[in-house]
């Protein structure tokens, strides 16, 4: 056995053993799961730290600063402010960095969501209802779509009690919501089963070799 295949085989078995450790959680919590969980947390925390350093901090902060692009001092300073959290008496400085991130995040969200969740959605709801020149079922579907969107919006009215007409429309909205949630649930099952097939195939094929 060459060293390379040894390392490959060893890795394979390690992967298989850890897979079983995680699956054992389905029965109940146990030391094997705890082992895999704690290992996993440690490895991933270390991995992301290293990944962040090589992929973001070095190319996007250290290298530009070396090339004397001084605008990068700002994130450096804000980053250091963030670290003041570790020292109680100057910890309030971290709020400056947080405020920057929250402020810029909010600003961009307003534009993005007014465009994608508002303008775009109104536009796609404006559908032709004229029965001439298109099959009847298209028109029926368009009417259903319209009813669904409007009643869904009425469901989200907060300043009006869900009674009377509002209540009835909101209930139609709930009908649409439920059908949609059911459909999304059913739609996702396939993707999730695929994941399990992938894992079991790995175990049965690569490790046990029965298929």
């Amino acid at each position: 056995m060459t060293l390379e295949t040894f390392s490959g085989t060893f890795g394979l078995w390690m992967g298989a053993a850890l897979t079983l450790c995680i699956f054992s959680f389905l029965y109940k919590d146990n030391p094997f799961y705890r082992f895999a969980e704690h290992l996993f947390v440690g490895v991933s925390a270390g991995y992301w730290l290293v990944y962040n350093y090589w992929n973001i901090v070095k190319p996007n902060l250290i290298d530009p600063l070396r090339e004397e692009q001084w605008q990068y001092l700002l994130p450096l300073v804000l980053g250091i402010f963030m670290l003041t959290r570790l020292f109680p008496n100057v910890g309030w400085l971290s709020r400056w960095a947080i405020a920057f991130m929250i402020g810029s995040g909010s600003g961009i969200m307003i534009i993005t969501y007014l465009q994608s969740n508002f303008l775009e959605q109104i536009k796609s709801t404006l559908v032709p209802l004229d029965p001439t020149g298109q099959p009847w079922y298209v028109v029926v579907n368009n009417v259903i779509l319209l009813v669904g969107v409007v009643s869904g919006l009425v469901y989200f009215f907060f300043s009006k009690a869900h009674t009377g007409v509002t209540g009835r429309i909101a209930r139609i909205g709930v009908v649409f919501l439920m059908v949609s949630f059911g459909a999304s649930f059913g739609y996702t099952v396939m993707a999730r089963i695929s994941l399990l097939i992938g894992r079991l195939y790995f175990l049965l094929h690569k490790c046990v070799g029965v298929i």
């Binding site: 995680i22 969980e37 404006l126 907060f158 300043s159 919501l177």
Partner: protein, 400 residues
């Protein structure tokens, strides 16, 4: 044979001979027989609209030999010069079938440029007519987003109007939101059972507004928990969210008059990787057995792993998210779920702060406005006028 016929024969023979010679040459050079491709036509150059300069947009009609599939033309080369007579330098190459592109290669603002598009095949090329002059300009307003700006102004104005009315002390009605009504009860049952409460503020960053909505709810939850003298466990995915959560929870305990009960080690960082985070939170749920699990914020595929594990421990679970894809799973596995906008309404609902309630009213008015727009749009569209619909285009092109 008529004269015309003889002439035709003569031409054909010449062409035949010519192509034989060409073929011969081609064979010697082991290249396929070739004629230069026909040029691209109708080249139009203009300043790229709605940008901060430094860019020119070109469009043209494809060469007659560019018909898609394995035809003669391989690519188009964009060439640029500061004078109509050249010299032209190559800026970029685009693949066949492309009929527009932008030039952003060191374009100076307010300088005249001339362009030509060169159609290329395997061995020869044909330049188009020169187009220009064109100048790149800085635009101070992005006309394509005029509709977004108007909506932003309208919405801001509506919100501010209702907030100011609320400030003046006007009473504002808010309907019941079951998930939020259940919140106090759910958090309250943890101490009765002598167990902690678990709060997961999602797995997104602090720049995500959903996370902030979650932090707002956390603030209220922390106060309730402090009142009952219970532990509140808050595992975090993002370090910055963790620092904010720590501040908010500490503040909650202080507001409840029990700053000494706050334990910083209960608001901690796990890891910024989705599944290790879930593995750890699952571990907490089965080991610490919290009586209440709250999953509020932005979630991805892990939502169901969390909610099902929580359900298996018998905890009361309330979820809230604006991740549409995850809503079905929370609804299936949790006792209550805040759906989309309800998550954002929570802050106002729980605090009953008039300023926040005012904004809820503004949101509702915006919905009315929207329903109005839909009806006007439908009527205009179905009488054959599409202009209203195009007001919602992105980018808006109606004013160009």
């Amino acid at each position: 044979m008529s004269f015309a016929g003889a002439r035709l024969l003569h031409i054909s023979l010449c062409v035949l001979a010519g192509s034989l010679v060409l073929c011969g040459q081609a064979l010697c050079q082991s290249a396929p027989p070739d004629t230069p491709p026909s040029p691209a036509t109708d080249l139009v150059v203009k300043d790229t609209p709605d940008d901060d300069g430094g860019s020119v947009t070109l469009s043209w009609s494809l060469s007659a030999d560019d018909k898609g599939g394995a035809k003669d033309v391989l690519s188009y080369e964009i060439r640029r010069s500061k004078s109509p007579d050249g010299p032209f330098t190559t800026i970029k190459k685009v693949l066949k079938g492309t009929s527009s592109t932008t030039d952003e290669k060191k374009v100076e603002n307010n300088v005249d440029y001339y362009y030509q598009v060169v159609t290329k095949d395997a061995s020869s090329e044909t330049p188009s007519a020169v187009a220009g002059p064109v100048r790149a300009h800085v635009q101070w307003f992005n006309l394509g987003r005029l509709n977004t700006l108007l909506i932003t102004i309208l919405y801001t104005a509506l919100l501010l109007y209702f907030i100011s009315r609320a400030k003046k002390g006007e009473k504002l009605f808010v309907r019941r939101i079951a998930g939020l009504d259940a919140l106090d009860e759910a958090v309250g049952c943890a101490p009765e059972m002598g167990k902690p409460a678990l709060y997961v503020p999602g797995i997104s960053t602090i720049s995500d507004v959903a996370t902030i909505a979650s932090v707002n709810i956390l603030s209220g939850v922390a106060r309730t928990v402090a009142d009952y003298d219970t532990r509140l466990i808050v595992p975090n995915f993002d370090p910055i969210v963790m620092t904010v959560a720590q501040e908010v929870v500490r503040e909650g305990y202080m507001a409840a008059g029990k700053p000494e009960a706050y334990r910083e080690e209960d608001v901690f960082y796990v890891t910024s990787s989705q599944f290790p985070f879930v593995a750890a939170v699952d571990g907490i749920m089965v080991r610490e057995r919290p009586a209440t699990n709250l999953f509020i914020g932005m979630f991805f595929a892990e939502s169901l792993i969390l909610a099902e594990t929580g359900a298996s421990t018998g905890a009361i679970q309330i979820a809230g998210t604006d991740a549409i894809a995850q809503l079905p799973f929370f609804i299936a596995a949790c006792d209550y779920t805040l759906i989309g906008e309800e998550l954002y309404a929570a802050s106002a609902y729980l605090s009953r702060a008039p300023l926040l309630l005012g904004s809820l009213k503004g949101q509702d008015w915006m919905k009315m406005f929207l329903i109005g727009c839909i009806f006007i749009g439908l009527v205009t569209l179905n009488v054959g006028f599409a202009g209203f619909k195009s007001l919602f285009d992105l980018p808006l092109t109606i004013f160009r």
